[in-house]
Amino acid sequence: MDTVIDAHNVSKVYNKDTIPVYAVNNVHLHLERGEFTALVGPSGSGKTTLLNMIGGLDKPDEGNIYINGQDITQLSANALIDFRLRNIGFVFQSFNLIPVLTAKENVEFIMQLQKIKRKDRDARVNQLFKQIDMEEKLNERPSKLSGGQQQRVAVARALASKPQFILADEPTANLDTKSASNLLDIMARLNKEENITFLFSTHDQRVIDRARRVITLVDGRIVNDTSVVSTSHMEDKLHN
């Protein structure tokens, strides 16, 4: 197996000078390519902080994080921006699409940053919109899309740069049951068919039920790390 994320002794401390509060405390995390992992725990347990550090949005106070063997804690702010662009896909709880751009332009935006040629961008956009079943909504602005559709566009945007893995922070929190289920189907399919690694932070039982590995965080520490072998997953393994 291929290691994608390798976090060693990672800690994040707030109020260092007064009463230190450990948002993340001495966490070790190892993720292989193709994993479909849920990071669970109560509010304030450090899920989002850990996800932000793995995504290079925040720096740990202690420890190192290796993405594909590269220690991202040693990168400068500008190098991190470029690293994120080429290696990490983000899906946020509140979708965070750019409202003045159409669905297609939102997805293209990342590829423009990567300086991908127009022809290649068009081909990739068409492929991604097919994968998220939204080919007919290419030219709609986010305000004309439902929450579920916006989140699917956000997934397409995260995939556009062909990242090493996708970090999704509470991706289903703002979605109704049907939309959430639909989104999870798409992500599970992408994981299965294209071997894309997903790491979710979530409270949502529907996400937890679909995950093949569940890591439980309490008070910034990993208290449980369980691999779940679902029936469908076992069937896949048997066929292979």
Binding site: L57, D58, L85, F92, L101
Partner: protein
């Protein structure tokens, strides 16, 4: 994306664009008004007061001594009249002296003129507001300015005495009768300049056919400087001066007015800049989360900076053509019809040598500078909001 961003809040953007258009209109209108006033003043100096060039004896203007007549004046006048660049060449004899009446006296410059020629060069006939021009049948007539007439309570037909020194330093005097009163756009000059015939002043000064001044009106303004240097080389015993040297205060006024106009414009744009800064800061504040998301996805900070820069420039430059076109249309209208400022005080305008009817001129030659001011305003306005956007940290921005 920048273009779409500025239309997120249409009302706010339109208000700021209109402010820029109105600010620009004001700035250009001030430039146009000053240009019109200065052009009118320069034309008055050239066409009515001084001419393009004046020729004197090199020593004459130091003390206005009557003996300093132009060397070979008649020959020079004949030669000048035949030159293709010259439209008019008119002689004057000049003395400084005292004008006395039973009620008071005043120092004056007595201009001895050949009436028919003087009417062409200084438009003296057009400026007469009471009485009649010189009559060949009458002797010892004098034309005086309204300001002097008011000061000494002189009317048409009033008697007065002119006293001055002749070319032999003898004091001479003569009695004259007011035949006409004139009024120009320059009240201070009206108070000191009086006109009698050249024949009479030359006889009193005992200078025969000689004279002290030749006023030259050229066919084109552009000829002036090269023609001056040509004449200076040719008539080495005479001093040849342009209107700029004779009326340095007008020249200074023309030069400084442009600077004043730009200062006013910069102040107007500076005030507008704070409006633009406010708008852009609001826009950044409203989009903090979005900018955080863009940084998180891998948009580098230079790109964010240029996005804010571009939005500010678009916001600024959309108002620019509106301001320029509206000012062009309104200025063109008043350029044809004239702008009557007599309501501001005709006398006050005239006391500064300005006509109260102004013909504003659209400052085509200054439009590039106007653009430069607008560009610098936009640049100045975008810096603070752009730096604010650059200082955002993606994690903190995404939390908002």
């Amino acid at each position: 994306m920048a273009w779409r961003n500025i239309w997120r809040n249409k009302t706010r953007s339109i208000v700021i664009m209109l402010s820029i258009a109105i600010g620009l209109f004001s700035g250009i209108a001030i430039l146009a008004l000053y240009a019109g006033m200065m052009n009118s003043r320069v034309r008055t100096v050239i066409d009515v007061e001084v001419g393009h060039l004046q020729i004197h004896h090199p020593e004459f203007k130091k003390d206005y001594k009557p003996e300093y007549t132009i060397h070979d004046g008649l020959k020079m006048l004949k030669s000048l009249t035949s030159m293709p660049e010259v439209k008019l060449a008119v002689p004057r004899s000049i003395a400084t002296g005292m004008l006395s009446t039973p009620g008071g006296s005043s120092g004056v410059q007595i201009n001895g003129i050949i009436p028919a020629q003087e009417y062409l060069v200084s438009k003296l006939r057009d400026k007469i507001i009471a009485g009649n021009i010189f009559s060949p049948a009458k002797r010892n007539q004098i034309i005086i300015g309204k300001k002097l007439a008011d000061k000494l309570k002189l009317n048409i037909g009033s008697k007065l005495v002119l006293t001055f020194t002749d070319s032999s330093d003898e004091i001479v005097s003569g009695a004259f009768r007011v035949s006409a009163i004139y009024q120009s756009n320059n009240a201070p000059l009206d108070e000191v300049n009086v006109y009698i015939t050249m024949k009479e002043i030359n006889s009193m000064l005992k200078i025969g056919d000689e004279f002290h001044e030749i006023v030259l009106i050229l066919k084109q303004d552009d000829y002036m400087d090269t023609f001056q240097s040509r004449l200076s080389k040719r008539f080495i015993n005479s001093k040849i001066e342009t209107w700029r040297e004779i009326s340095p205060e007008t020249n200074l006024l023309v030069k400084t007015t442009d600077q004043y106009s730009y200062i006013i414009m910069v102040i107007v744009m500076l005030a507008l800049a704070f409006g633009i800064i406010n708008t852009m800061l609001m826009a950044i504040l409203e989009r903090t989360k979005e900018i955080g998301m863009m940084l998180a996805l891998g948009t580098n900070r230079i790109r964010i900076f240029f996005l804010v820069l571009l939005e500010t420039f678009m916001l600024t430059f959309v108002g620019t053509p509106v301001g320029i076109l509206s000012s062009w249309a309104i200025i063109s209208y008043f350029n044809k019809k004239g702008l009557d400022l007599s309501g501001m005080g005709n006398e006050m305008m005239n006391s500064f040598g300005f006509d109260s009817m102004i013909y504003p001129e659209f400052p085509v030659d200054k439009i590039l500078n106007v653009f430069l001011i607008v560009f610098l305003t936009a640049l100045f306005s975008c810096l603070f909001p752009a730096l604010k956007a650059l200082s955002l940290q993606p994690v903190e921005a995404l939390r908002r």
